[in-house]
């Protein structure tokens, strides 16, 4: 399965690059449309398999509101990772923390961090969060061996859309709600944590 995913990703990147530089189709809206349509279909199907799975609901009920701990642990882990990275690389620690507080949402973090800390940091925030998404996809089969929730932690904000179907495939249908809610909460808090960290400067 992961072979097909990585092949599709690679072909997509090459196709997007060629299209952008040589304008073959000249319209990126086609890929946006494909993205949204397949995502909505997947969410429907994943919801359906969750609803069908009698055990999944029971597991969620037993865990209860504790699932809210997951996004908080991811947020603090990401920001600590940014701080440690900034100190190791001798970069501005606050900007490093802000860049990693995008939790994988690179289309937000790039422009936002760029606006606050300058273009160079915007580029770093962009690539950092893009790599987070990419590494989550590439390492999902290894991560799931560490812990069932490890790929959810790795995915950060992306676990409500792009990486969700892959996580459900590898971790099972019962992680659906934990993964979606964690990604959802991180998506909502990402702009606020970035701005909060920046205001410490």
């Amino acid at each position: 399965m992961i072979k097909y995913i990585l092949t599709a990703l690679a072909i997509g990147i090459v196709a997007g690059y060629l299209n952008n530089n040589f304008s073959i189709i000249a319209n990126n809206r086609v890929s946006d449309y494909l993205f949204n349509a397949s995502l909505i279909l997947l969410l429907l199907v994943m919801g359906l398999s969750f609803g069908l799975d009698k055990e999944a609901m029971g597991k969620l009920r037993r865990t209860g509101p504790k699932i809210l701990i997951v996004p908080l642990a991811v947020a603090s882990g990401s920001i600590l990772g940014g701080l440690v990275g900034g100190l190791i690389l001798r970069l501005d620690p606050l900007a490093s923390m802000a860049a990693s507080a995008g939790y994988g949402w690179y289309t937000l973090t790039g422009p936002l961090v760029g606006q606050i800390f300058g273009a160079e940091w915007g580029a770093l925030g962009f690539v950092l969060n893009f790599l987070r998404e990419l590494l989550t996809i590439v390492t999902v089969s290894l991560m799931v061996k560490i812990d069932k929730y490890a790929p959810i932690a790795s995915g950060g904000a992306t676990t409500m859309d792009t990486t969700l179907p892959i996580l459900v495939r590898y971790c099972g249908s019962d992680v659906l709600i934990v993964a979606f809610s964690s990604g959802f909460i991180l998506t909502i808090i990402a702009p606020f944590t970035i701005i909060a960290i920046a205001s410490l400067a």
């Binding site: 990703l9 690059y17 991811v74 860049a99 770093l124 950092l128 893009f130 987070r132 792009t162």
Partner: protein
Amino acid sequence: MINLSALSLIIPLIAGILLGFFFRKRKHVNLGKVTVGAIIVLIFSLGFSIGSNSELLNSMPKVGMSAFVMSILAIGFSVLFVVLARRRLLME
């Protein structure tokens, strides 16, 4: 500032869950092939948007190494904290 498209993703998810409850009595619902096909399309179009983002591709060589180190650390600490929380709080 709040991502409205994020909120709208809840709708198909909840619709799916409700449909699932409704179809529970039916014997077999096999959606394996649909899922795999849709995942391939999703990931292809994700790749497409990355490949056509020249701003992202151009900044790769300049900041790539620092970004890689930081992304590994952000992932590492996130996994560590979540695994610790899960073991301590006995989440299923």
